[in-house]
């Protein structure tokens, strides 16, 4: 169990920089997701933490050790690979027991540990099988078992659920959260699936183009996305983003776009008049009355709610989310209200920073409480 710290970590492959000056500090016992689109450097970051790649510059720290020059086996980590990477020629039992064998654990003790892990993951009946005789979900659990059989300081998981079908994925999400709660170990979880990141993590590190975009608890990433990229990446259906202009009269900011003009909440000192972007989540659009005119273009019925895409006068499209009983026919003209207190304003450009002044009053409910690690530390010291 240990904290993990990246300091100014950069990784270059030839002329290509896969990870740019990453600063990330993961608390002891925390479940952190690295979330981002494919190719954003998540796996590279994880592999550097594992010791499978070496940073071009910067330091990586696990616990109180700088691990830059340590081989993977010396870092006291365990990793679950997206491809599972089970040893095809070994039985399930031998696969799970391999990390113990490599650390010189005696046979009797090893078998006991394997049996215990297999029990935990419901693999007991499969111990004598070879990996190719298992289903995807079973293989996934064996891969997990191989990581769990030891008690490493940090667990690294690289998209462990992405090869499972949707139902099993939902089940394993719950299992993993439960496992994390029970073990209390630091876990670094790579995923491109925001649902996984949102539901499982204490904090999410959103990455794009090799750069960290935001590192915050899920609720905060959702409610206060640090920039336009995070805003567009998090949430399904996505936040509506409308490019327009910001103007200030008498201390009040107004956002203007064709067919749309609305006052926006208090902004930070960085805000300047000029091009900006308005962001509105679908649940903050109400249809019925309001100053904005629109035409219903698409209605997607998901059962308990309807997703409505509305064309605005200026040509922009807006996504709204309404409870199922409310429905409209296509082509119908409607009036809308965009809730100004929940509207986001971002600076110009694809990574324009969020300009809203943070809410002082509404404290965000987060799962992760940094204080909770302290008693654990003491417990570890007592043991």
């Amino acid at each position: 169990m240990a904290e993990v710290v990246f300091s100014k970590v950069q990784k270059k492959f030839g002329a290509f920089t896969a990870v740019h000056g990453l600063d990330l500090s993961i608390a002891e016992g925390e479940f952190v997701s690295l979330l981002g689109p494919s190719g954003c450097g998540k796996t590279t970051t994880l592999r550097m933490l594992a010791g499978l790649e070496f940073p071009s510059s910067g330091d990586i720290q696990i616990g109180d050790r700088v691990v830059n020059d340590l081989a993977p086996g010396q870092r006291d980590i365990a990793m679950v690979f997206q491809s599972y990477a089970l040893y095809p020629h070994l039985t399930v039992g031998d696969n799970i027991g391999y990390p113990l064998k490599k650390r010189g654990v005696g046979k009797a003790e090893r078998l006991a540990a394997v049996a215990k892990t297999a029990e935990l993951l419901q693999l007991t009946e499969l111990l004598k099988r070879k990996p190719r005789q298992l289903s995807g979900g079973q293989q996934q659990r064996v891969a997990l078992g191989r990581a769990l059989v030891r008690d490493p300081q940090v667990f690294l998981l690289d998209e462990p659920l992405s090869n499972l079908d949707a139902k099993l994925r939902g089940y394993m999400r719950v299992e993993l959260v439960e496992l994390h709660r029970r073990l209390g170990r630091t876990m670094v979880y790579v995923t491109h699936d925001q649902l996984e990141a949102m539901t499982m993590s204490d904090r999410i590190a959103v990455m794009e183009g090799g750069k960290l975009q935001q590192f915050a608890p899920p609720a905060q990433v959702y409610a206060e996305p640090a920039n336009r990229f995070v805003a567009s990446f998090i949430g399904t259906p996505g936040m509506t983003l409308i490019d327009g202009d910001l103007s200030q009269t008498g201390g009040v900011w107004t956002f203007n776009a064709p067919g749309l003009s609305m006052p926006v909440g208090p902004l930070t000192d960085e805000a300047t008049a000029g091009p900006a972007c308005l962001g509105v989540r679908p649940e903050h659009v109400s249809i019925g009355t309001g100053p904005v005119q629109g035409v219903i273009q698409v209605v997607e019925k998901t059962g308990h709610e309807n997703i409505v895409i509305i064309g605005l006068e200026g040509g922009h499209r807006l996504t709204g989310r309404v409870p199922a009983p409310q429905s409209w026919s296509i082509g119908e003209s409607v009036q809308l209200t965009l809730e100004a207190e929940h509207a986001h304003i971002f600076g110009a450009g694809p990574h324009g920073a969020r300009l809203n002044r943070p809410h002082e009053t509404a404290p965000l409910k987060t799962k992760h409480n940094p204080d909770k690690t302290k008693p654990k530390l003491q417990k570890a010291a007592n043991e």
Partner: protein, 275 residues
């Protein structure tokens, strides 16, 4: 129409099989015919009297067994050296990243493209310089020069088919680089190693030119040149003995093939298929 095509196909297949098999059959038959039956016209398809005197004569009165032993030592040693070096070399070419990796691989292949005749004189001088000329060991070195590039390329493609994650997983699980190689890579590579070993063994077993030029003492001649030297002169060819020798020369290959055949076919399929 369909049956006609089927018949035609079968006919062609069988004529090819016959064309390949008939010389082998004739070799076998000739080796057990008594000498006087050999040149009779019309020839007898099956011998009228069967005899194993040629075999007996080869084994008891000639150097055949010495040559046989030399060939076994030579081919096994070459196979061992080539497979060991090629496996590690292929591992390096596939897994380590260094400048000139690709060029190195092509350079190695390029040596394979040079005709043996060009290489043989420099090689001979080199071996004389090393003071090992006219020994089985010198042939092991010579054979390695032509078998290694081929083996390296074969194993390289096998190696490239092994997912890198397997090795990464072993490293994370606490294995050293060498440990991961032994525990994870080698077992996966086994079909590739066996096919490579088989090809190398056959190449060495049948090699003639290098053996002819580099070795000229009976104590270190392999079967190919040994048998030629002993049974074929300008005046006479001992057909019966030659055929008996040929049969016995084929036996080790047949045995090796029979044992490893399943591995070999598996090996041919590997590389492209994962899992």
């Amino acid at each position: 129409m369909l049956t006609f095509r089927k018949i035609l196909f079968n006919l062609m297949a069988w004529s090819i099989v016959l064309a390949v098999a008939f010389p082998l059959f004739w070799m076998l038959v000739t080796s057990v015919k008594p000498g006087f039956e050999l040149f009779r016209r019309p020839p007898t398809i099956l011998p009228e009297t069967w005899t194993f005197e040629h075999y007996w004569k080869l084994l008891s009165e000639t150097n055949f067994l010495i040559y046989f032993r030399n060939s076994i030592i030579l081919s096994s040693a070459t196979t061992l050296v080539v497979v060991a070096v090629a496996t590690l070399g292929a591992f390096s070419l596939v897994r380590f990243k260094y400048r000139g990796r690709e060029s190195l691989a092509f350079l190695v292949l390029f040596t394979y493209l040079l005709p043996s005749v060009v290489l043989i004189i420099p090689l001979y001088l080199l071996l004389v310089g090393l003071g090992v000329s006219n020994t089985i060991f010198s042939l092991v070195i010579a054979y390695t020069t032509f078998a290694l590039p081929y083996a390296l390329w074969l194993l390289r493609s096998f190696m490239a088919g092994i997912p890198e994650d397997l090795e990464s997983a072993a490293l994370c699980d606490g294995a050293t680089r060498m440990g991961a190689f032994r525990d994870v890579i080698l077992p996966q590579l086994l079909p590739g190693i066996i096919s490579t070993a088989l090809f190398t063994f056959i190449l060495s077993w049948n090699e003639y030119l290098y053996a002819l030029v580099l070795v000229n003492s009976d104590s270190s001649r392999p079967l190919t040149t040994g048998v030629m030297n002993m049974l074929i002169s300008s005046f006479n060819i001992e057909w019966s003995l030659l055929m008996a020798a040929s049969v016995m020369m084929s036996v080790p290959l047949i045995i090796v093939f029979a044992f490893l055949q399943s591995y070999l076919t598996r090996g041919f399929g590997a590389g492209g298929v994962k899992g």
